[in-house]
Symmetry: C2
Subunit: 423 residues, 2 copies
Amino acid sequence: MSYDFLWHIALILLSTKVFGLVTRRFQMPQVVGALLAGLLLGPAFGLNLLPSDSEMIEQLAELGVIVIMFSAGMETDVRDLKKAGKSGFIIALLGVLLPLFGGAAVSAWLSPTDDMLQNFFIGTVLTATSVSITVETLRELGKLQSRVGNAILAAAIIDDILGIIALTMITSLSGDGESMGMVLVKILLFLLFCAVAYVVGVRALDWYIHRAKDRNLRRYPIAAFVVCLLMAFAAEEYFGVADITGAFAAGLMIGATKKAGYIASKFEPVQYLFLAPVFFASIGMSVVLPKMTTELIVFCVLLVVVAVLSKWIGCGLGAKLCGFSTRECNQIGLGMVCRGEVALIVANKGVDIGLMPQELFGPVIIMVVLTTILTPILLKMAYKGETETHLQERSFGMRREDLENLDIVTDRLLKQEKEMKHQ
Amino acid sequence: MSYDFLWHIALILLSTKVFGLVTRRFQMPQVVGALLAGLLLGPAFGLNLLPSDSEMIEQLAELGVIVIMFSAGMETDVRDLKKAGKSGFIIALLGVLLPLFGGAAVSAWLSPTDDMLQNFFIGTVLTATSVSITVETLRELGKLQSRVGNAILAAAIIDDILGIIALTMITSLSGDGESMGMVLVKILLFLLFCAVAYVVGVRALDWYIHRAKDRNLRRYPIAAFVVCLLMAFAAEEYFGVADITGAFAAGLMIGATKKAGYIASKFEPVQYLFLAPVFFASIGMSVVLPKMTTELIVFCVLLVVVAVLSKWIGCGLGAKLCGFSTRECNQIGLGMVCRGEVALIVANKGVDIGLMPQELFGPVIIMVVLTTILTPILLKMAYKGETETHLQERSFGMRREDLENLDIVTDRLLKQEKEMKHQ
């Protein structure tokens, strides 16, 4: 056996963390750094420090994205979706539809394909908001616990679900020449399967947990992981749905059990200490820098413009329909602009199943990085005048803390974000 | 990409845990159950539920054993070694030498090879005591905090180190025809490398931890993992030493830093939730049931007999030299009989590098399982009369708890064991 994989994993862990800390210093999420690390390690710049054909890294990356989506599912409280109510739903829906059609339009105009599915796939990549940057910015502005803050958080939860539905529809339709009817039947069966698994699973687990007198046992996270893997596998194998959809559904289910917090805490190190870095690095590694044709550059620019405008206008319009003031609509729309790991996960899935050409990966990453950088800037502008003094105070307090201890601040922010969701 | 590996990992996690819980009910460690699960999943009984040629599972298992040895290193306090003192060292040394030569004698007598290295490798497999079963039994008897208990714990720590040294010597010598002198130079260089890494690493990490105001940051476990992987890789690649030796040395180093407890707590779920089950299952899977020749059966019986007698007599003799009473020597000797994961890890390494024939894996597993079952029985007999009433009380209190909540009891025992070591 060759032991090179030990060196490869060490290199991935080290580089993603170091680059992540660097990007964090520049007020960008660590994910951006991890992507950059992957870009450097891979063939994009000719360094080729990691093999691009390692089955191990490919499968670990897949496990990584499954665990990421599983954790995202665990953090989503199904009961919150009901509470989020009409306004959250309308903001999210318009904020999904406009990027979906906007992305499809860009693709239809510029991409060489006539396949409508491929075009709509580009749209799907643009649907999911990554709200953590916005939460960080709103906290800094002292505006998280406001009408606008609540609307953004509610919409972001629903946004994720709608994005997953869009992904499920499109990947299912891309299956090997099955009829539209058959695909819909399979999706319905999958939803039925998830619903039954949810109801039965939550009760069975809670019964077992109760029987074991509510103690924290190692078997719970293990059982949760088994459920996650089996649902991911079943989704792909029996329903023609993406494995990450199955993992997300499993996460929703585990998240509704009594030991959700304990289980999630055990998945956290598995994720950040091992699997997630491999996934993000592998995303970066899978970027090939193609001959930068004018077409590709135009595509890239248009993609970024459409990504920003479609969310801004879509969510803003939704907010307007729900009776928010124009100023607030502006703030809500801009707060939803940021894209993150979900866009990368979806794009990666698209390349895997042949719905997205490999060379479009670069533009997608550029889109994610630029929306991440632009969101806090635009959002601060949208609040200009409103919180002038407050802003200065807070941002100074924040910056010092940030520099001292970046991880803990994030952890706290994410916890507070989650608490916000539960209000 | 095929998604079968999701199903394979789910199967491994589920079966090792279920079998582990079953063996725990029968007062055996969960490792035994995990091995049985692997036996069933693999080719041994013709079920072949898992592919025997998966690169992914092979490499994950290797990562698993690296993380297990790394954690073992983190739990070993280098300062304890000094405190354990002369008596612990003498007990451990004789308890390593007798099994080493005893195992070599059995192999020389029955195995078809004339290679002395292969013979001594069988001896090396027999060297390392697994003390957790003994600790559990002594607690049950109310005898853990006694002169005998302390001697056993001290000897077990040194035992591990001596076993690692034996493994390092023998695997290095098996390298591709290098001269004995070159091998020794490489081992010395490796020890020097470890010593320098230890001194520099502990200081650098503690400096960084102090600089970050002693908070718990995610980067510490990540850095620890990187160090572990790099030292495991360097050991194999540059010094011709086993990767698990490098991982163990890295564990010693991380265990001496200020954040050892925090780092270890993050590796725990990575280990039990993912990597360790894959390793133990893969051990079980790698067992081929060869044509059960008379020779192999005799080998198996002799191996078990020598495993029990050599530790019993070796450690007992060592204790006698240190002035323990004959009754106490008996108790110490029997307390050290139990073998566990380290024997499996060493044997596995031997098969990998061609120092142990594949068909001897079955006997080694039988040896581990039988010594695990025999140790508590023999130990209780050795204490007969001494603690009659105490025993009944304790064992009842223990048994009820055990049935209610097996994992937590183990955790507590291991923690207490560790505390014991620190006394």
